[in-house]
């Protein structure tokens, strides 16, 4: 049982550090396996912040390290799929990255400090440092990387992830989902699967999306998420004359829930939203059309002429390629007047 004299906010509780969820248990929200990475720290950087780093004076990493660290910074930018901060090497950068002892303490191969929203520090242990188990080897320090080496770019990516505010991913017991996150408690060495991941994993991205938002309303949500949506449907008129035109407008949004962080209440555009109808009093729905995305963001529209009364609903099916949960709107009815001027075409389902 843990007791606390600190006020832990709800927003942080979703994500409280993995360190606290494993052993301290009660009183915190447990992060289960294959969830988004736990959150590290309550503070975040500004959306799309440019964090400029430079090599620490007197502790500049070797050239091979510098190249790999810069590559990891590029990896973040290329695969963040969110508005998380980006990292850029700049000789005037205020966030130092060092090589050697630093103040990592007992931590293994690298460490960081994050001081959001202003900056960070990072250290990499030097090639050849000796641990109880043996000697540290970095793959980039060899022309042919030996088994048992750590990949600098992967470890740097992990550290950049921490700086963004990602805690260690909680894996399945068999680690079968190890590559769903690069921010891991335990680093793998060559040649184990995932030792040289040079992209953020889906569960890293999931938390970045919750903390920093997605880039665009049409951007995909990480498949490590299971974000509920709410779909509403309105029509331009509840009753029209025979053959009259009705415009249906659906609005697709992420459910408002503080657990979703910055994704809460997001309009969702660019998806497939179908309009369905059925005769009043029946149960079988027929798809009329795929609605057309329109403005404002998250809106989908379809106009049609009606020749018989009907009930309508909009459907957003759970996509297989992203972490949104489908929804079905409530039913709305449109009544259609009788045909008063011949010829009166038979109802064609419209």
């Amino acid at each position: 049982m843990i007791s606390t004299n600190m006020h832990v906010r709800r927003a942080a509780s979703l994500l409280l550090m993995a360190a606290l969820t494993v052993g301290l248990g009660a009183g915190t929200t447990t992060i289960s396996a294959h969830s988004p990475d736990p959150v590290l720290g309550a503070e975040v950087f500004a959306q799309d912040a440019r964090l400029l780093y430079d090599w620490r004076s007197g502790a500049t990493p070797p050239a091979a390290f510098r190249t790999a660290i810069n590559a990891a910074a590029d990896d973040i930018k290329a695969t963040r799929a969110s508005r998380a901060a980006v990292f850029l090497h700049d000789v005037n950068g205020s966030s130092p990255i060092g090589y050697g002892t630093g103040t990592c303490g007992v931590n293994g191969i690298a460490c960081f400090t994050r001081n959001a929203p202003t900056g960070f520090t990072m250290w990499f242990r030097e090639q050849g440092r000796v641990y109880d188990w043996g000697t540290l080897k970095w793959c980039q320090m060899y022309s042919t990387a030996p088994n048992g080496c750590y990949d600098v770019e992967t470890v740097a990516l992990d550290e950049f992830g921490h700086v963004e505010g990602l805690g260690h991913h909680v894996n399945f017991a068999d680690d079968s989902d190890y590559t769903d996150a690069v921010v891991q408690t335990y680093s793998r060495t060559k040649p184990r699967d995932g030792y040289d991941m040079h992209v953020l994993g889906v569960c890293d991205v999931a938390t970045l999306q919750m903390r920093y938002d997605i880039p665009l309303a049409s951007s995909p949500y990480s498949t490590c998420l299971d974000v509920a949506t709410v779909l509403t449907l309105s029509r331009s008129s509840s009753s029209v004359a025979y053959g009259g035109s009705v415009t249906f407008t659906a609005l697709l949004k992420v459910v408002s829930d503080t657990d979703y962080g910055r994704l809460s209440g997001n309009a969702v555009s660019g998806r497939s939203v179908r309009l369905q109808r059925r005769p009043p009093g029946t149960t079988t729905w027929t798809t009329v059309a795929t609605m057309t995305p329109t403005s404002p963001t998250g809106s989908y529209v379809y106009s049609m002429r009606l020749y018989s009364s009907a009930e309508f609903r909009a459907v957003f099916s759970t996509p297989t390629t992203e972490g949104l949960r489908g929804d079905v709107s409530s039913v709305t009815s449109v009544s259609v007047g009788s045909c008063s001027t011949a010829p009166c075409p038979l109802s064609t389902g419209q």
Partner: protein
């Protein structure tokens, strides 16, 4: 005692190398000549007359890889420092009453010596075909405790003890720690004494999380604290253990473990560096950075009582944590905590370390308190 090549006498001019001014956090190459201490006379002992003894250890790099370590030692207020060149696998511990325990391995043997900083000499203590990873000296100054691993397999061999004066051969005091998948292979073993000196914390850290065995060296009782949510040890008093969470960086939760019932108390959810000290009533407190920036400090009892702020250092010095984090240490002064540039002992000499008095926050140069 047989004088070895390693112990051969060096001239006084070599002794004072002023290495502090040259030392950076990582040392590239070995531009200055290393000091080799003369052999001390008599049997090894601690409790010399040099107050404020300190050390700092840094890797020596060649082509980006560690080729050795440089150990710089000095005494507060004394401009002269001494720098020893050690092997790639080496350590320093202490200070213990004006002395520093030094271990270095040449690939076939680990050699242990005790350097008296004030006398500028060293006693050779031991040579082992096992790898001595780290060591400490009992508070009564009689016994050396060594953590060893097997040279070929790197398997843990436990903690061994021998008399400081060489009157006894090494015997095993504590068994190797059993494997535990929750922690993975042991990266680093750290030995730390409780505040009262009665218990030895043997901390075995995996890549991120740590286990601690609390040993009564006299009675032999061992208590294991093995929770994967715990990281590096901050300190230990009679009934509580304070540790960071199992983080890969800072800030990180600061946790106090009640050794009576294993209950855990979250002292801070996002702490930076932290050390144990004493308040005006002599009670154990934790002094820690709030967040990782180092610009806010807090003092709190180990049981969470009476949290209050401590003003940050106006010149930007950072709290210097224990040896496992800062790769250095100074003689402890009860009720005072050390601040230095980047949270370490002196680097380029431009910023001197200061001690802060925990009860009232006043700051004085390291040398003044130590005298």
């Amino acid at each position: 005692m047989v004088e070895s090549r390693w112990f051969r006498r060096a001239g006084p001019a070599v002794a004072a190398v002023g290495a502090v001014a040259l030392l950076a956090s990582t040392t590239f190459g070995a531009p200055e000549r290393a000091w080799e201490p003369a052999p001390c006379s008599g049997v090894a002992r601690i409790g010399g007359s040099t107050p404020g003894t300190w050390y700092r250890i840094d890797p020596i790099l060649g082509a980006g890889a560690r080729t050795g370590q440089r150990l710089v030692m000095g005494a507060a207020g004394d401009q002269a420092t001494r720098a020893m060149a050690l092997g790639a696998e080496s350590f320093a511990a202490g200070p213990f009453g004006g002395t520093i325990l030094v271990g270095t391995d040449d690939g076939s043997r680990s050699r242990l010596s005790l350097v008296d900083v004030g006398l500028a000499c060293a006693w050779r203590l031991d040579a082992s075909t096992d790898v001595v990873r780290t060591a400490t000296i009992t508070p009564d100054g009689t016994t050396v405790l060594e953590h060893r691993v097997d040279r070929r397999t790197r398997a843990d061999l436990g903690v061994w003890q021998r008399a400081l004066d060489g009157s006894t051969s090494p015997t095993r005091l504590l068994a190797p720690i059993p494997a535990d998948d929750r922690f993975g292979p042991t990266w680093l073993t750290h030995l730390a004494w409780s505040e009262d000196g009665r218990s030895l914390a043997v901390q075995s850290c995996g890549e991120v999380a740590c286990r601690v065995r609390i040993l009564d060296p006299r009675g032999g009782a061992v208590r294991l604290v093995a929770d994967p949510s715990l990281g590096d040890l901050v300190g230990l008093n009679g009934d509580r253990l304070v540790a960071h969470g199992a983080c890969r960086g800072l800030p990180c939760p600061l946790i106090s473990v009640d050794l009576g019932d294993d209950s855990m108390l979250l002292l801070d959810h996002a702490a930076g560096q932290a050390v144990l000290s004493r308040d005006e009533l002599g009670r154990s407190v934790v002094v820690h950075e709030v967040g990782a920036g180092g610009d806010a400090l807090r003092i709190v009892g180990l049981d969470g009582r009476d949290p209050h702020d401590l003003a940050a250092d106006p010149d930007g010095r950072r709290l210097v944590a224990g040896a496992a984090r800062s790769a250095g240490a100074t003689e402890p002064v009860r009720g005072w905590v050390l601040f230095g540039p980047d949270g370490r002992l002196p680097t380029d000499g431009s910023v001197r370390p200061v001690l802060r008095h925990v009860p009232d926050g006043r700051a004085v140069p390291l040398s003044e308190v130590s005298r």
